[in-house]
Symmetry: C6
Subunit: 219 residues, 6 copies
């Protein structure tokens, strides 16, 4: 099935990027929904996630629980890798994709559909480096994506072919609040949400901006 | 055992369609019941579901929990593949069948028994494409089914033999609310239910209708 | 050990029928008890149940929870296959036996001990067909049973030898309420219980009686 | 280590009987204690129980929960096979031993230490037959036991050597209330406890005494 | 690392004794802490415990829950075999060591550090025999231990070399209250604690003292 | 990816040290976050922890729960080994790193980023010895670390090459309160926190200072 990329925006749907085999990238969309729970609230992820992918969902849940205060205790967070198929999902490079989809669903904030992203995430909101950045960017460009978000720590790994350079804008980020700034479409709601994230989990980020030139990046 | 298809309607029973081996389809009915729970409410599916089928039930539960607000927290949702037998159920193509059976049981809304369906489902209500559509439609026609619901994204995959073309009407859909429109028999109750589903999970659908021509389908 | 069949009645004990190997049937009694729970109420089945048998207990529990409203939330339902031995119990053909034993224990309603039964069950109370009906009836007749309940969908499979024809009455049924009508001994209590089951889970049954000639049987 | 048998009585300790290998019996004491629970009350059995032994503990728990009404919901029931060793415990023939030890602990009722027992148990209190009765009785006699309780259904299996006939009295029983009558030492407390068990779970027993000559024994 | 034995006392730390390979003993200290719980209280043991060791912790927990009434329902009990290493802990001979460490932590009662111990435990507080007593005593003596507690039932198994006879005092015990009498350093607190243990779980012990000469030891 | 070490401080991030293969050390940072929980509070650790590493997290949790009284019952503690990768984390030598990261997150107390550490931990706060100390110190020195915390019991194992001796200060410790004294940057908050830890879990430590010269170290 062909993925058609629009310039519209959709709540709870984010274009992720994955690597297949050695040297080819694919788009791997993530959808999220937040619902009342039956028992205690749970985070439920489908798409046959392997161990590292399951752990990345746990790391993302730290930010979600911190971000949304306590009104999540009787809510279930559903995360679906809609094209995972039989082979399932491995690795933690979809962490920022998952986080963005869930925050979009939680806040009813639409996500730009011509944006794609790849990046791991710390439990405190830092965007951590991933593998295969070049192949992923090229796959996004081929699919019609206009903007690709990558971890700042992967900036020097980008070696895309000339033909793609004009097609996509590459935006390196180091905190989840920067991801949301780019990916969410609604200007006013977006900034409120980012402010809150910064205030709660972004203290490391602010500290860095505040003057520490040598803060170690976790990778 | 032979499946006789009637033009009556039954609460909590929906004709699904599955593929056996390489090239033959079969009817696979799903039954559902909603009961008071013992501990915290649970979704309980039987028929020896393999991993992808279990995950598809989790995805369906997102829509059920969203649809029925919070009165499901002390209810158990039972889902039964009544003809799964020893080999069990695999894949996610019964997602819309399961969703329709559960919504029928929950709302006490009868389901048309001369309708059969196949389709995967996102946690937000989008109908996603599946495999084996042609074989499934032919099996439905042979069994006496009058109407077959398939995912819109599978429309171009339909290549049924001439003899079946007269026997069944094929209805392509892209959202669970359209499935319910076709499959539930009671006109007034049905529309109330569909309205609610649209209002709660159908925002993507409405948005699409509202003007975005290029909304990417998740497949 | 020999099973002696009486014409008395006992609460919480029902004669089931099973197939051993290729071509021989045996009596397999099921006992049930309902007790206060320690934590949240549970359904606890013993007799080394294999996967299909465990799932059939889950399907039966749907009817029990629906039937007994919410006073089961702090009760444990114990189900025991008293002669399962080392090899355990497989398949779903004891579903109506289990349902009858639990309803008997729950309602303190005695079960006729010269009745034996075999039949699968949907989560909405439909009696579904099973295998080995002829061997099971013959085993029941040899053991002194007077009445054997079988699924209506298995009526045409009965090919018992002449010598057994006089010994047992065969009663085909299509809903659990008909099973209880035959198996419970107390006339007044029985009808109250059956009425209630019909009102709650028997809507499909009533609908069928109401005029739909072609309602598809789930098998 | 040698087991010395006394004519004293101890709370929460009962002499069980087991078979080792093909043709030798051993004493296998069971100890029980009832304590406040941490979370919801649990039944906790140690001695490396195999699957049938674990299920027999579940069956016993039905009688315990029924017998002690609801004050067990915040209590843990501990059951210990004190000489199980590395090989663990298999089978369900210690069911009446476990039941007696737990009831003794729950009621603070001392158990006669010159009594040993073997017998399976239904969830409704019926004593069901077991294997190896002759070897078990001889082992009990050798250890100095004065009274051995066996299932009534095993009465015809007893073929002990002449030398042991004088040493032990064999008491066949068909309900757990009869086991307690023999094994508990305190006359008044014992009868109160037995009365209650009869009233709650012993209806089958009373019914049998009341006139049904042919009630099928569950074996 | 060398273990230096002091004559001081420490809360929540007890010198256990274990056997390595065929014929050598080692000191194996156990530490315990009691903390507020997050969910329902739990007993959490670390040191890669094998099945028998895990079950011995469950048996010890019976005494702890009984001893400390109900204020343990929102407390976690942490037990740590601090030198278990990669090979982990097997067997049940550290039961009295674990019980002493936990009671020390619970009551803030210091444990004599020149005492070492070995012994299994029943759920009612009886000290049961273990293997390798001689090797364990010699290892304790070499490490500078002054007093070694062993099960009374192992008294006849002690065959230590002459050189160790002067170095350690061997104290055989048959109930956990005797272990605490020797191992806890604080005279007044200790007796209060022992009195309580005797009153609650020590009835068997008192009974024995009261006149029954032939009470069977559980081994 | 290169780890740049700064002289700044960050909340919830601590430089751990690990051994790779036979003879090389690496920096292994640990991040922590404390969030509202959905159900009962949990400790959730990611980085594909092997059994000993999982147990070390349980031991650390004892100190956290003790330290933070009961306000942790509706909080989740997230622990992330941010560079664990596919091979995961084994052993218990990151215990003090994990404890420091969690306490930092819980108290919002910044951690010095030019400090690295290695050390196991008892459930009562004692720092226990680990392996590979020399390789770990050299790896820390190469990465630009100024201060390395090691267990006091490993002091005699340090055999670093001359070139590293000038680069790093080595601080041997025997209690978690000493680790916090060195690693946390904020003077006033730090001392309050240490005082509390000493008062609650540090009784063994104080006792030692109070006069017992020969207190056995647990290793
Ligand atoms: Ca746009
Ligand atoms: Ca934008
Ligand atoms: Ca119709
Ligand atoms: Ca219709
Ligand atoms: Ca009768
Ligand atoms: Ca009748
Ligand atoms: Ca006596
Ligand atoms: Ca007596
Ligand atoms: Ca001393
Ligand atoms: Ca002393
Ligand atoms: Ca600094
Ligand atoms: Ca400092």
């Amino acid at each position: 099935y062909e993925l058609t990329v629009s310039d519209g925006d959709v709540v709870g749907r984010v274009n992720g990027l994955a690597v297949m085999g050695e040297d080819s990238g694919i788009m791997l969309p993530v959808m999220a929904e937040v619902t009342p729970s039956q028992g205690p609230g749970q985070v439920i992820a489908t798409g046959q996630l392997k161990e590292m992918a399951e752990e990345s969902v746990k790391n993302v849940s730290a930010i979600i629980k911190k971000f949304s205060d306590e009104d999540i205790s009787e809510k279930d967070v559903h995360i679906q890798f809609v094209q995972a198929g039989q082979q399932g999902v491995d690795g933690d490079s979809a962490s920022i994709t998952v986080a963005t989809a869930v925050i979009s669903a939680l806040e009813d904030a639409p996500v730009e559909q011509d944006v794609a992203m790849t990046g791991s995430l710390s439990v405190r909101g830092d965007v951590l480096p991933v593998g295969g950045v070049t192949h992923k960017i090229e796959a996004a460009a081929k699919a019609g994506i206009k903007t690709v978000i990558i971890p700042k720590a992967n900036e020097q790994d980008v070696m895309i072919e000339e033909e793609y350079e004009e097609m996509v804008e590459i935006i390196p980020v180091s905190h989840i609040s920067e991801v949301l700034e780019v990916a969410l479409s609604g200007e006013p709601e977006k900034d409120g949400l980012i402010d809150r994230l910064k205030n709660i989990t972004g203290s490391a980020l602010e500290r860095e901006i505040g003057g520490n030139t040598g803060r170690p990046s976790p990778q």
